[in-house]
Structure formats: structure tokens, C-alpha cells
């Protein structure tokens, strides 16, 4: 039993951020898997921990009482500040500013665009297939946050408009070019040492060579590929992705391939669909 419990889904996106940060810091924690596609995050036992029903959440028992922390990037910053272990924020204030800037950009602009594709082609159809329409409508009604209700409705019933999908596609293309340009400047994304921005970025980008093979590959984005492979080689990353239970996490193995050529956009959408077939 640890003083720390992390409630998380797959090592991917928001769940993966605090998982990987804790492992990089060498902080032992109790892992509590929340099956998002089974709506575990909206069940009473989880809502007692995080009433908003969002994943991830972390509890930290201290002499002053139990602390409950939510929001993946904010949890990472807490983990870095509260525990011993390698610093994941550098000493230089300008570097710290740049790390925060990139994390906000990824969290609020780029990641929601990626996840619109993930929800439309993977999360929505699979939740519908697993539960059936009547049950899923009831599940969605029970979601505490109105924004999340809207998102689930749109995902499950395919309500993302063409304009929304096109804008997300535009942002993904712009964002990948920005990442490539930034990683051409230095070894890591936002500073000269490995930081929370890299932990955050890896969770966003590790599967890009599979799901955006027309944009992210060794031909077009060699610096992104170098960066992803360097993070994948880290022991903490290996240990973290072992906590995955579905084919979603095993996508990370694409980074064992030495050279990934450019492929058509349709190949990426096919891969997202396949993920559902295997899940």
C-alpha cells in the first residue's frame, strides 16, 4: 500500500501523463485502472473520489489529510514538486515558461483535435457496440459535466460536423509541423533537459506514426521520430506502457521500427478502426 493512488485508464493521453511522471520520479503508487469504455469513471465509487467523473485523479495521503488532485498536467506539476527524484522542471525560469506554454498548447489546442478523431473512429463506435443504444443513452445522461455529456453524445452518435473534423485535421497538421520545427532546435521539446513537456508530448504523439502516417514519419518529421524513440527507450516509459491492458497501449511498439515511411491518411483511419476490432 502506497500513500498515493492513481486512478487512470490506458497509458495514453491524459491518463498516461501522471503515470509516466510518477514513474520518471521513481514514486511508488497504487494503480487503480478505470475502464473508460465501460464508464467506470461515472460509477458512484469513482465519483466519491472525483465528483466531476474525469480521469485521471490522484489521492495522496499526508499527515495533514487526504489530498485529491485532478487534471493531468496539474497533477504532473504536483508530482514534480511534492516528491524527491529527478527534476522534471529545469532551474531556468524561461525554460519553465516554455514548458508551461507547450503543455497548454498541447492540452487545449492540439490534443482536443487528436481526440476528436480518436472519439469519432474509436471511442464512440466501440462504446456503442459494447453497450447498445439504450444503455449508452442512460450512461451519458449520468455524466456529471455538461461538456463531457456533449462530447460523448457527439462521439457515440457520430455528430461531429464535417467543419469540426476539417478544423481538427488542420490543427493536427499545423501542430505536427510546430513540433517538428521545435525539436529541430533542441534535443527535448521545450528545454535542454527532459521535462514534463516531453512526458506530456509523448502521451499525445506516440501513436502518430500509426494514426497520422501521412504527416508523422521518418521522411517528413525525422526530429519527431528521434524524440519519440528516445522517450520510448527510457525505462520509465517501458514500465509505464506495461500497465496498458488493451491494444491501444501496444501501439507504442511501432517505435521499435527503425524506419517508418510515409503512408496515406486512409491508412491511419484504418488503424484507428482496427483498434476497435481488437479491443
Amino acid at each position: 500500500m502506497s500513500d498515493i493512488t492513481l486512478y487512470h485508464w490506458e497509458p495514453n493521453a491524459n491518463s498516461g501523463k501522471p503515470m509516466l511522471a510518477l514513474m520518471e520520479k521513481g514514486v511508488a503508487f497504487d494503480s487503480h485502472y478505470i475502464d473508460m469504455l465501460n464508464f467506470d469513471q461515472h460509477k458512484p465509487e469513482y465519483l466519491a473520489i472525483n465528483p466531476q467523473g474525469t480521469i485521471p485523479a490522484m489521492t495522496h495521503d499526508t499527515p495533514a489529510g487526504r489530498r485529491v488532485l485532478v487534471e493531468s498536467t496539474a497533477i504532473m506539476e504536483y508530482v514534480n514538486e511534492a516528491f524527491d527524484g529527478p527534476a522534471l522542471m529545469p532551474d531556468n525560469a524561461a525554460d519553465r515558461w516554455r514548458i508551461r506554454w507547450w503543455m497548454k498548447f498541447m492540452d487545449q489546442w492540439l490534443a482536443p483535435s487528436f481526440s476528436m478523431f480518436g472519439w469519432k473512429y474509436f471511442v464512440g463506435p466501440n462504446a456503442l457496440k459494447a453497450h447498445g443504444e439504450a444503455k449508452i443513452r442512460a450512461q451519458i445522461e449520468a455524466i456529471p459535466l455538461p461538456e463531457r455529456r456533449t462530447a460523448w453524445n457527439k462521439a457515440v452518435f457520430g455528430l461531429f460536423s464535417d467543419a469540426e473534423m476539417a478544423e481538427s485535421g488542420r490543427r493536427i497538421a499545423v501542430g505536427i509541423q510546430m513540433l517538428e520545427a521545435e525539436l529541430a532546435k533542441r534535443e527535448w521539446l521545450a528545454s535542454d533537459t527532459y521535462s514534463l513537456a516531453d512526458v506530456n508530448g509523448f502521451n499525445l504523439a506516440y501513436a502518430m506514426p500509426l494514426s497520422q502516417p501521412h504527416l508523422a514519419n521518418d521522411e517528413l518529421t525525422p526530429n519527431i521520430m528521434r524524440w519519440l524513440r528516445a522517450i520510448y527507450r527510457r525505462p520509465a516509459t517501458r514500465a509505464c506502457w506495461k500497465l496498458g491492458r488493451t491494444p491501444m497501449a501496444s501501439r507504442v511498439e511501432i517505435l521499435e521500427t527503425d524506419y517508418i515511411a510515409q503512408k496515406a491518411e486512409s491508412e491511419g483511419l484504418y488503424q484507428l478502426g482496427q483498434l476497435g476490432e481488437k479491443a
Binding site: 487534471e71 508551461r100 498548447f105
Partner: protein, 264 residues
Amino acid sequence: MSMILYHGEPNGPSLTALAMVGETGLDVDCRPIALLRGERHTIPGLTEPLARDMGLEGEGPVLVVDGEAMTESVFLAQYMDEMAGNALQPKDAYAHWQMMMWCRRITERCAPAAAFLGNKAFASPVLAAMADAEFDAAIAPIVSGDLKQRWIETRADSMTEAAVGNAMADSTTKLTAAVQMVEDQLADGREWLMGDVSIADIETYGWLAGAEALVPGVWDNRPRAAAWAARVRSRPSVAAALARATVAQPETAWAPGPEINRWG
């Protein structure tokens, strides 16, 4: 190392950044620019313009340090604070997390709402009165496609009447909720939002300074919040920032800001 702060009138994120100059006492060269003429996008001498070009805050202040454009008022506040001795952020990790979560509720929910209402009321008429050629020249250097689109929508009212109505109602609710959040936070009698004065007070006040004009009566029946706003306003740093205004009512100075969450 020189620091130059390019800022709009002291309102919203520009007010936060200017107040932080005063709070920290850092030697910052503060240079006013006309945000609604697009001057933020023609700042000279930038070797690293990315954060100016792609920042999510919209037409917020730009701090230039060694040629690098730095943006996002909360992170500028943290940077200035950390350069000056770290007096405005809690030392305890949990208290720090609480402050950052507070600031995120402001930047993600309150700021887009305030910016939408403020631009509708005060920036739209200014941009609509511009000649096409003048407007096109102002937005020509804007790199971010979605920020440029917000400029175009602010000028041309391309949204349907129903969509405008929904956005107005939603933004009014969110701005009111932010003032109520301040009221609730102060219920235990504390003077400042996080106990000790912090970046949360400065950032929150920046976005709420113009709230009365956008949601008339929003401070009425919220006496703790109203008293807090007066306390922040009377801090020497904030008073000095407001004294930099070149217009009579800086709290009505708005320019396209952060977008409303696309996921609903």
C-alpha cells in the same frame, strides 16, 4: 538581459502582465501597442515568434526576452515572479496546485466568456468601422488561422443570430459564475483568493475588471467579491498599471481573445 513588455490598454491579460511588473519590481520596458490595429503581429526584433504567433490567449501581452516572444498571462506572471524571488506563488506543492487549478478555471472558462462579451460590445463596432483595406492590412500578418478567424467574426458578425444568442447567454453565465466563485472562495473571511496574495488574485482581477460593463449588476449582492475587487484595484501595482491607460475607460478595451472550447 533586457525585458520588453508589449501590452494593450490595462485590461484583461495586459492588465495582469502590467500589474506583475509592479508586483515584482523587475526592470521591464513597457511599450503600449494598439491591439485592434494588429500591432502585436508586427513587433520588431523577434528571433523566436512562435508563442506570439500560436499562443491561445489571443491578443494578449507579449514579453520579449532575448528575442524570444513569451505569452500567456498566467505563465508570464509565473516567469516574472520566479525571476524576482517567488513571492506570489505558494511554496507548498498542494497549495500551488490549488492556485494553478484556480487560474485554469479563469483562463479556460471565464476568459473566453469575458473576451466574447467584451469584443461583441466594444471591439466589433471599432472593427466594423474600419475600411476593408485597413482591416485586411491589420490581420494580414496574423499567423494563427483560428485567431485570424476570430478577428473576422468579431468584425463581420458572421455567426447566425441564434448562435450569437447562445454564445451571449453561455458567456454571461460563465462570467457571472467566475464572480460567484470569488464570492464563495472568500466565505471564510480570507482577504485574498489563496489566503496570501498570489498570481490568482492578479490574473482573476485582470479578466473581471471590466465585468460590470458586460454583465450589469454582476457585483451586486456579492459583497465579498466586490470588496476583494476594490482591494486588488488599490494595490500599488494595479493602480500603476491602470494609470498607464491612454483611454478614459480601459476596462472597455478588448481585442480578440481565447476561443470558446470547441468541445462544447
